[in-house]
């Protein structure tokens, strides 16, 4: 399976487990920003562009992945976005991310051996929401 698919599935699984549900800070984790407000409303998280860079060595296939995780809030201030970004940090930073093959019955094609946050920022959006962007860099090798 494509490393892009398994990586996003792993990020989605981890973030959904940590951020969505009773007592947790978001209404959902999405692939792209919904065209209309999502069923649960704000705040929510989207997994945005992820850039994969080839990082091969002799006989081993490796990638560096830079993933942008977006936070969308309409709370009227930046506090909620910052709190969610903190929750994302707790979920992902220095986390050993399991990358099972999507729908692969437990098969594993890729290993993520480093996952660190590189940057975080918040921008006001034209639709009155606050848009947080966090970038995480992962080091991935073929299993």
């Amino acid at each position: 399976m494509a490393v892009e698919v398994d990586f996003q599935a792993a990020i989605y699984t981890r973030l959904t487990a940590q951020l969505v549900g009773a007592g947790k800070p978001t209404t959902g984790v999405h692939d792209v920003k919904p065209q209309s407000d999502p069923a649960g409303g704000f705040p929510y998280v989207t997994i945005g562009q992820t850039m994969f860079t080839m990082d091969d060595a002799q006989g081993s296939f490796n990638f560096q992945a830079l993933a942008r995780i977006h936070t969308w809030s309409r709370s009227g201030g930046t506090l909620e976005t910052k709190q969610i970004q903190g929750a994302i940090y707790d979920a992902l930073h220095n986390h050993t991310l399991a990358m099972p093959r999507l729908n692969g019955a437990g098969a594993v094609d890729w290993l993520c051996y480093s996952l660190l946050r590189e940057a975080s920022r918040i921008e006001p959006d034209p639709d009155q929401s606050f848009h947080g962007v966090c970038e995480y860099r992962a080091l991935i090798q073929a299993a």
């Binding site: 002799q58 006989g59 081993s60 490796n62 051996y113 480093s114 080091l139």
Partner: protein
């Protein structure tokens, strides 16, 4: 002759290619015999067809998921660092083999990156070249 990619150049221990190597280099050096005399009008002159000594040195850099050189370098004994089964396969398919001594091994672990290593192997005695 066409250009060749670096990954076609291989360093092997025994029959096994060292894994996760990113960069390889091989350097030959010769030290000629200086036979300059007053008769050479100030121009350095060397003995024809001879060298005082020659050397062949290989350097490899890569990732550490293959622990072959790591284990040799950090092993207590010295004899294991004299390797009779190292070969360099050039991009043309020539095989350079001989006894090589591991004289330098270093690992670097940057916090946000994979651990990398560098190693230097120098030839002891003469090497052989086998065409493909």
């Amino acid at each position: 002759m066409a250009n060749k990619s670096g990954r076609t150049m291989l360093v092997k221990k025994g029959a096994t290619t060292l894994a996760s190597v990113r960069s390889k280099s091989v350097t030959w050096n010769g030290t000629p015999v200086d036979v300059t005399t007053d008769d050479d009008a100030g121009a350095t002159t060397y003995l024809a067809d001879e060298f005082a000594s020659t050397s062949l040195e290989m350097s490899v850099e890569g990732l550490t998921d293959d622990d072959v050189l790591h284990d040799i370098a950090f092993g207590v004994g010295n004899s294991a660092k004299h390797l009779a089964d190292i070969t360099l396969v050039t991009s043309s398919g020539d095989t350079i083999s001989g006894t090589f001594i591991l004289t330098n091994y270093a690992e670097t672990g940057a916090y946000e990156d994979a651990i990398t290593f560098t190693a230097t192997l120098i030839r002891s005695g003469i090497h052989t070249v086998t065409a493909p």
